[in-house]
Amino acid sequence: MNSAFFPALQLALARPFIASNVSFLASLITPPNADMAPVATPFFFYLLSGLAVAGGVLVITRRNPVHCALALIVTLIAVANLYLMLYAPFVAGVQIIVYAGGIMVLFLFVIMLVNIERASKDRRFNRIWPAGLAAACALMALFVSAFVKGRTLFPDRMIKLPEISNTQEIANALYGEAGRMGQYTFTFEIASLLLLVAILGAVIMTKKRI
């Protein structure tokens, strides 16, 4: 058989498929109208919040600290997706990169350094855990009563923030724009100083001899 025939045939057979796929992808990238139906449906909200709460329950009940760390990662990623549903993509990216990528690696290293065999055998809860649980239940009752009484205090509006320029606007607030200081530039510098102090403190405390 001639070899040029088969690719042409395949292309002819596949053309409607490719064309429909391309138009489908294009409809994903550029919405047909400006106010298309949002992807953030209530189903995803309940799924993600259920994942977050389930991860939190696993964090405070598992015996092995490594399992707790993995459950905490589930919670962090679910919360990052909740940020995406709130039109905050920059905070979602920071959450995944800094929390799930940085802080959790730090936690896992420390779990590796302290001995895990003993921790996985002895008791999970401290001696006064009923008192602690009662205090937490009191806090939960406070939350429930505040939310039941103050249900109408929170307006139902959700103002749609521009999603594409989100990172740029956060950068304008942090670093300033057009040569002027932003509203949070000084706070940003203080935060960098805080990080420097934290680095020095961590190094000095973990060193054997200074």
Partner: protein, 102 residues
């Protein structure tokens, strides 16, 4: 289905906060107590971002970024203290860290 409002996010954040408080008050392992503190900070962050959406400005999101910086500093210092203590006392259980009790 009910549309999702700010209130729904506040309820989820309150649930995460209470779970973190339970973890801080009842667990023995200091590493897991620090993880519970991370849960609490995440609940606060979720509140901040939800209010940012409610008011339609970015101050809540900027504050959430600062909270992440705080959480990183807190985790670094807390775990540093933990390693220094483990080197001295060979334990990381809060029951046995009772040097200042009488």
């Amino acid at each position: 289905m009910v549309p999702i409002t700010t209130f729904h996010y506040l309820v989820v954040a309150a649930a995460l906060f209470v779970l973190g408080v339970i973890g801080v008050l009842t667990r023995r392992n200091v590493v897991i107590i620090l993880m519970s503190i991370e849960l609490i900070l995440n609940a606060v962050n979720l509140n901040l971002v939800a209010f940012s959406r409610m008011w339609g400005n970015l101050h809540g999101q900027v504050f959430a970024v600062f909270m992440v910086v705080d959480a990183a500093a807190e985790a670094a210092v807390g775990l540093g203290i933990l390693i220094a203590f483990f080197r001295n006392q060979e334990t990381i259980n809060v029951d046995e860290i009772d040097l200042l009790k009488w």
